[in-house]
């Protein structure tokens, strides 16, 4: 297990030295994934609530589709977004390929279904409990959906965190649409893939440890905020 201990030591050294290259990579990872999560939540939460509460034709099949889309392989999404943004593709003139923006787009496509599907389940459960009450108060369906979203916000934060976890951990999509360009679109996961390619397994694993720590810290922060909010607003 010499690789393991070497990796721990390397990870420690990189963190202590605050390697500027590493900081840039970490910052870009967070920026891309947090932006993607924010946009995906703006899309996914209303979609989830609408499908949970709405009574429109195709509601059931939409549920199945949303659940199914959670399993979309990142590399397929990467390929689709790549073909869309490539100069030869329909949006090629925007020149977005191999930019952080392209990576955000790919991650939004990847995690919106996850946030939508999970929040649909959460809101649907709450709807079962509160439908009569909300109806008797004369709430319209959109009003009811909004109320339920606010009411289940603590559970919904888990859905959003699931999306963040997926975004920050995936490599297939950002590798294709970002191109892993040094200093421009290189993020944590693509760096790990690159160092593995170079056969520098200890460094790759060290970056992996750092990525895991960051994800843990984000989750701890989210947890703390939630605890605080629960105490404050019940």
């Amino acid at each position: 297990m010499s690789t393991m201990s070497e990796s721990f030591a390397t990870a420690g050294r990189l963190i202590v030295a605050a390697d500027p290259n590493l900081l840039h990579i970490v910052a870009l990872s967070l920026q891309v994934s947090l932006t993607a999560v924010f946009l995906a939540a703006c899309l996914g939460l209303p979609i989830g609530a609408a499908v949970a509460v709405g009574r429109f034709p195709g509601c059931k099949s939409l549920t199945v589709i949303l659940n199914g889309l959670m399993g979309l392989p990142p590399v397929v999404i990467g390929l689709l977004v790549y073909l869309l943004l490539s100069r030869a593709g329909p949006l090629g003139s925007l020149g977005l390929l191999f930019t952080p923006t392209a990576m955000v787009i790919a991650q939004v496509v990847l995690i919106t279904p996850i946030i939508a599907a999970l929040s649909r389940q959460i809101v649907a459960d709450a709807w079962r409990d509160y439908e009569e009450q909300l109806r008797s108060l004369g709430a319209s369906t959109p009003r009811a959906a909004l109320t339920l979203l606010v009411d289940t916000r603590f559970s919904l934060s888990t859905a959003v965190l699931a999306g963040l976890g997926r975004a920050v951990a995936e490599v297939g999509a950002v590798m294709i649409v970002g191109g892993n360009i040094d200093g421009v679109t290189r993020v944590m996961t693509t760096s790990i893939a690159l160092e593995t390619s170079k056969g520098d397994l200890p460094l790759a694993l060290a970056l992996g440890f750092i990525l895991i720590s960051i994800v843990l810290i984000l989750n701890a922060l989210a947890h703390a905020v939630r605890e605080w909010a629960v105490r404050r607003h019940g």
Partner: protein
């Protein structure tokens, strides 16, 4: 509905934090070069590009792929310059009208890497086709890139030159991995297989396990790199002037010297040979 208002404020704050921080922008003036994993992973570009950028102010963004993929990316117009190593594929690219002109930049060589135990008994020789024939006859494990890269194309040419019809004799011994040079070397290291590699990636590769160089020095193992400007007539957005500036620099005396200066552990990785 105080809560709703408060959640909106919280969301807006989160949005401001994530979206307002601008993406770290490097130089505004940049070109995109599609190149091969060997030039990127060997560290050559990390050595060359800062010199070029300091001189011209042009940032070079490298997307490293296999040669086949790199050329396809340029065909779609997603690169300004290609920097690859498969002469036949490069000439086809030019003939199709996607490239302006192919210029030779540098060379290094391919090597046959294999386990120290040398199950096929080919180590130490110079004759690459003889070694391949022996490996096939011995059914010794062989890892192929299988990814349409320049190295893969060279490997297929060498099998053909050795008179081995791969389609007929492919078996469990021949492992087609469909991966880049580094991942393929990782695979070969873990199963003690023979593999054709470019010397640059091999020299910078760290997870060698029991692998060592088995065959080198055959002139058929020559590995020529070329550089091509993507044709602006096909793709009008190609940054013609800056792309050409990069090409002019790598074939200039200064660029050629910078290539020759790049060494790992005292060993030169690439040998400049641009036409004067």
């Amino acid at each position: 509905m105080d809560l709703i208002r408060r959640s909106f404020i919280a969301t807006a704050a989160a949005a401001a934090i994530t979206l307002a921080a601008p993406f770290v922008h490097a130089a505004d003036r940049f070109i995109t070069v599609s190149s091969t994993t060997s030039t990127e992973q060997s560290g050559l570009f990390k050595h060359l590009l800062p010199i070029f950028q300091a001189k011209t102010g042009i940032e070079v963004r490298v997307v490293a792929l296999g040669t086949g993929q790199a050329l396809d990316m340029a065909r779609r117009g997603d690169a300004d310059v290609v920097f690859v190593h498969d002469k036949a594929a490069e000439e086809k690219f030019i003939a199709e009208g996607y490239g302006v002109k192919r210029q030779e930049v540098m060379y290094n060589d391919f090597i046959l890497v294999g386990p120290k135990s040398d199950p096929a008994k080919v180590a130490g020789g110079k004759d690459i086709t003889g070694a391949l024939k022996t490996i096939q006859a011995a059914q010794a494990p062989f890892v192929s890139r299988g990814d349409k890269s320049g190295t893969h194309a060279a490997e297929l040419r060498l099998w053909k030159a050795a008179g081995v019809d791969l389609d007929a004799v492919k078996g469990a011994w021949y492992r087609d991995t469909g991966s880049g040079m580094g991942p393929a070397l990782n695979t070969a290291a873990s199963m003690n297989a023979y593999i054709l590699a470019d010397r640059g990636t091999w020299l910078s590769f760290k997870n060698r396990g029991d692998l060592t160089i088995s065959v080198e020095g055959d002139k058929r193992l020559f590995n020529q790199y070329g550089v091509i400007l993507v044709n602006p007539d096909k793709h009008p957005h190609v940054k013609k002037a800056d792309g050409q500036a990069f090409i002019d620099w790598v074939v200039s005396a200064e660029g050629q010297k910078a290539i020759a200066d790049y060494k790992i552990d005292g060993q030169q990785l690439f040998f400049p040979n641009a036409a004067k």
